[in-house]
């Protein structure tokens, strides 16, 4: 068990014993390799099952929405920024959430690891700071950890929680080291025809299970535009137009709000890289408005207010 896991358990136990909170939202060990399960610990005993590994790839902020009671929540950089966003958007009350800040080790991409062993069955994966140990039927292999981080974790700009009531462990390196603007670069280099072709290709396998939407802490509308049926904006079939409409609109609804947490890509069961869309929007918001979502509770999100000197982005 790693040190952070141990400290999370001790802290969670204390918060529950002292009744500071009703529940601690974290992760417990998953039942399959390379997947931990979001977990809600209500008692000190349950707190002892919490874990912190490179496979904690959901965004726990999602679970705070409409949740009753006072909850503690484990939050690395992106998750803390989404909590800030939810507070600013009046979805979460600051006094009802107790943020356990943590440094992100850089979460791992299970698909990248699986791709190393295409026709073999993986039964167990463990990691330390440098290496991942993959075990399966008739094989065992070590991989260099940093090569298997999720794409968004390579380009992360805030690995430490930005807002917290208590910090677990030490603050670590602030960034992932990669250049975040490169996510947007492919689109920017293309003319409109090849851009459309690349877009179609990127989303051709989508089965519209909506895991990317439901896993995201930005998507909390009571009725999502794709579920509206009077009028019905988006059809229910696998027609390209309906799939594209969903993705384009979903991405735009994330503008100025997305923290590039990568939960959407990790959730997608068919491996679609929808961050290519939100990544371009993230860059535009940063360049046009000098704004990164969720860094503080005060700065108003740029798309919620009008200023006479706003850039003329349509032009």
């Amino acid at each position: 068990m790693n040190d952070i896991t141990q400290q999370i358990r001790t802290t969670a136990r204390r918060l529950l014993e002292e009744k500071t909170v009703d529940c601690v939202i974290g992760y417990r060990k998953g039942t399959v390799p390379m997947q931990e399960e979001p977990y809600f610990a209500y008692s000190p005993e349950e707190a002892d099952t919490l874990v912190w590994t490179g496979f904690c790839v959901n965004n726990l902020a999602n679970f705070l929405i409409k949740r009753p009671g006072r909850n503690a929540i484990l939050a690395q950089g992106c998750v803390s920024r989404n909590i800030v966003g939810l507070i600013k958007e009046n979805q979460v009350q600051r006094e009802n959430v107790y943020i356990l800040g943590v440094h992100s080790p850089g979460m791992l991409d299970a698909e990248k690891i699986k791709a190393q062993f295409p026709d073999r069955v993986i039964t167990k994966v463990t990691e330390d700071e440098q290496e991942i140990l993959v075990q399966g039927w008739g094989f065992e292999e070590r991989l260099e950890r940093k090569k298997f981080k999720r794409n968004n974790c390579f380009t992360c700009t805030h690995r430490n929680a930005v807002l917290y009531d208590e910090f677990i462990g030490e603050q670590g390196p602030g960034t992932g080291g990669g250049n975040i603007d490169k996510v947007a670069a492919p689109w920017e280099a293309m003319d409109s025809d090849s851009r459309w072709a690349a877009f179609e290709d990127a989303f051709k396998d989508c089965i519209r299970c909506y895991a990317c939407r439901n896993v995201c802490p930005l998507c909390y509308c009571d009725v999502c535009f794709v579920d509206e049926n009077n009028p019905q904006w988006v059809g229910k079939s696998q027609l390209d137009a309906d799939i594209y409409t969903f993705h384009i609109l979903r991405a735009f609804h994330c503008a100025g709000r997305c923290t590039d947490c990568g939960a959407c890509e990790s959730a997608c069961p068919v491996g679609i890289k929808m961050r290519t869309l939100t990544g371009k929007l993230e860059k535009d918001i940063r360049e046009f408005y000098d704004y990164q979502p969720g860094l503080d509770l005060e700065t108003p999100p740029p798309l919620t207010l009008y200023r006479p000197n706003d850039p003329d982005v349509a032009g």
């Binding site: 039942t31 399960e37 069955v121 089965i207 939407r213 696998q238």
Partner: protein
């Protein structure tokens, strides 16, 4: 029907015979995924795979299916009249389908072809015109638990032919008249081959170490099970997406809608999901499954309690493990069912 033997390199001859009448489909590798794809007899078939990512459910029950079409012109005497769709134009063969996925078709037959008065003609047409050539499982995944839900790595239900991979040979087991016809020209298998296949079956069954227990669920009343305290917690991490239901070979909720564009109209059926709040939302605004807890409970109660009661013991799950391996929050059907089966303390 006697077992036959086929050299693996001659599989293409069998496929060639099959392709005279049938369009062929088989699991192929696409990057790190295994997908169903059209194949030609000479293509190299994939034998080393656990199972396809998406189940073959869509061959019988497509994600989007046109049921009827019409001319969208109310003033036209020929307008707004529903026209029938043509059936499958050419029979199909699904080669190397896994036993669990074939069993899933057999389970869904009980739903879609329950009795003559309510047969789903769209399902029936494709089912009757699809030959199923199965491939027994050598290396079940850690998420497979078919042996505890009336299925298994060499299960034969629903199949026309079962193939067992004996390295450079295939043991060929015809199971229906169509299967027998297809394999009629192959030589009979020797006892050694039959024994090797039987040994493999035992090994594969032994390799499946996880499972579900259903005895208490079966013995309780519906209401007792429905009120099982485990449901207070199971839903907590679920995000109510459609992943488990879309990947599941036996989930079969659907929606029907009319779509129009200018003069053209069509009535379509699309996959839907009990995990979606919209699925049960009434026009009145009332929703009988209004909370996430209700929806998660429904998925598991339907498969493991309601279906067995309605369908003479048939379970709405074949143990393929797809929902577990694809769920973004690790809701594991085995843990859920085993918790549902736990005793209820007062």
């Amino acid at each position: 029907m006697p077992e036959k033997i086929l050299q693996k390199e001659d599989a293409k001859d069998l496929l060639r015979v099959c392709s005279r009448e049938h369009e062929l489909f088989a699991p192929v590798r696409d990057g790190s995924r295994i997908i169903w794809s059209p194949v030609a007899p000479d293509d190299r078939l994939e034998f080393e795979f656990s199972n396809t990512d998406l189940s073959p459910k869509g061959f019988m029950f497509p994600q989007t299916e046109r049921l009827m079409h019409f001319k969208n012109r109310p003033e036209d005497p020929q307008g707004m009249i529903m026209e029938q769709e043509a059936g499958l134009s050419r029979p199909r063969a699904l080669v190397n389908i896994r036993p669990c996925d074939a069993k899933a078709f057999a389970v869904l037959d009980l739903v879609f072809e329950r009795d003559a008065s309510s047969t789903d003609v769209y399902w029936k047409d494709k089912r009757e015109n699809t030959l199923l050539i199965g491939l027994a499982c050598k290396h079940p995944c850690p998420t497979c638990f078919c042996t505890s839900v009336n299925c298994g790595p060499h299960h034969e239900e629903g199949l026309d032919v079962l193939l067992v991979d004996l390295d450079n040979r295939l043991l060929v087991k015809p199971l229906t008249a169509s299967g027998e016809k297809l394999t009629a020209d192959l030589p009979d298998a020797g006892q050694a081959d039959i024994d090797q296949a039987a040994e493999q079956k035992q090994e594969a069954e032994a390799a499946i170490t996880s499972g579900v227990s259903l005895d208490s669920i079966a013995s309780r009343t519906v209401l007792e099970e429905y009120e099982h305290p485990c449901f207070e917690r199971i839903f907590e991490s679920c995000i109510n997406c459609g992943t488990c239901t879309y990947f599941c070979p036996t989930c079969h909720c659907f929606d029907i809608q009319d779509e129009t564009q200018e003069d053209y109209g069509r009535r379509i059926r699309t996959w839907d999901s009990c995990m979606s709040w919209l699925f049960t939302h009434h026009t009145s605004g009332h929703n009988p499954r209004g909370t996430k807890k209700d929806r998660v409970r429904q998925r598991f109660m339907h498969k493991f309690k309601y279906m067995p009661i309605k369908l003479d013991g048939a379970i709405g799950c074949v143990g393929c493990g797809r929902c577990t391996s694809k769920c973004p929050v690790n809701i594991d059907v085995r843990s859920v069912v085993n918790r549902m089966n736990e005793s209820i303390s007062e």
